[in-house]
Subunit: 139 residues, 4 copies
């Protein structure tokens, strides 16, 4: 199957100006290839990995009150676990992007532009829901 | 509450060498601030947002077979929806990182380094589980 | 806060005809009350618990192919873990129902009736999506 | 593939004492069979369905504060949506149990017994975490 990869092959010695995410992606690809794990990384399995890692991140905040969750996140042991779970979600997300040939930053940028239309400033200020009554505003 | 932000304040006109993720983060912060949405974006709520967006991404592949999921991802309408869900997960993840003062790329890099220790190449090749028998390998 | 509980107070000695789910619910309530955990079990936290437990169940099948997942589920160690995760999801779901005053069986019955309308037999046979083109069929 | 089904074939006319969950399961089986949907309902796909439905339930409470989530759940339109999402999670969970030959109530009962050992009353009162320091208490 020919996958469309938008990222060019990486130079192994990134220049000073290289995008940090692309440098990481190159390392991630090598990690996976060395272990022959591409066989497990079809889009369906990676979507599952994202969701299960997101579930572990969620578990971290499960019994913490909203108002306590900023402070909770600062304690060193919590912080380390939260960083590890964020890393897991990010890695799985990056792997999915790579597999289906999407650029993560571009996908975020496009969604942000769509959200700017969906949530006009004057109708959305201080309200987390879409003006039309939708209940699932994203950010 | 003093949040630790690792990212410096962004110049609104990014120079040619600016990190794409940081440029996006600056736009994202402005988007949120204009709508006065910081009040909803405590770490607990953002962890929920990540997981619920991950659930929507998951729904996309719910009835697709593993072996069909690469091809499925290429059809234009699927691709657009998948890109939108990836964008949602990424945005929520970036917002959480920003709120708790973590750098997403650094969190991924640290986790990748930990995984390299946990999954030695010679013991992990072709096997998606940790050598010791764990069942929840990450990538 | 006055919660609406649809379930009557349970007789500690269930009669032969008692509903198994209601007997379990009575035990569950006692378990929670003895540990003074009602304070953590607001609907938001319980929804998080359901999703994070669902994420653990998901992790179990993350790298298993569709076609292998029936057989995978039969191995004793897998079966035990799957049963434990199913138990976790079920318990959290039952606790949420109890907290918000909903009957789980009634909620499922109502949704099944709605699905029967949404997915007419003649238009849905062999197709997992709603006739109108929706992509998120439920079952 | 021989699946182990613990539930006997249901009599279409349940007697007065029939378990409500088993009556519903019989209806659910017929619903699925009429639409020829068993082919989509392997354990992997059903685990995905549970998690994505749990994500939708989660979305409902995403921007609601802990302390407001009881009252939030009582408004009629919220209540209807929450009931529908609970129904979805429950149905998918019941389908998975049926597919892998597990009894949902028995799985919950076994997990509750395990939790009673893991969280002794005197060491767990008022604390949502396991005495040994685990961070992922279930209920």
């Amino acid at each position: 199957m020919a996958l469309r990869h938008h990222f060019p092959a990486m130079n192994p010695m990134p220049d000073a100006c290289a995008d940090r995410l692309e440098v990481l992606l190159a390392e991630l690809r090598r990690f996976v290839r060395e272990r022959d794990w591409e066989q497990f990384h079809d889009p369906k399995n990676l979507a599952m990995a994202i969701a299960s890692e997101a579930g572990e991140l969620l578990a971290e905040y499960r019994w913490v009150e909203n108002r306590a969750s900023d402070l909770y996140s600062e304690a060193d042991d919590h912080r380390n676990r939260i960083a590890a779970e964020i890393g897991d979600v990010g890695i799985a997300l990056l792997l999915l992007c790579d597999r289906v040939g999407l650029d993560l930053v571009e996908a975020m940028r496009a969604k942000l532009a769509a959200n700017a239309v969906k949530y006009p400033v004057d109708k959305s200020r201080g309200k987390p829901e879409a003006p039309g009554g939708g209940t699932k505003a994203t950010l």
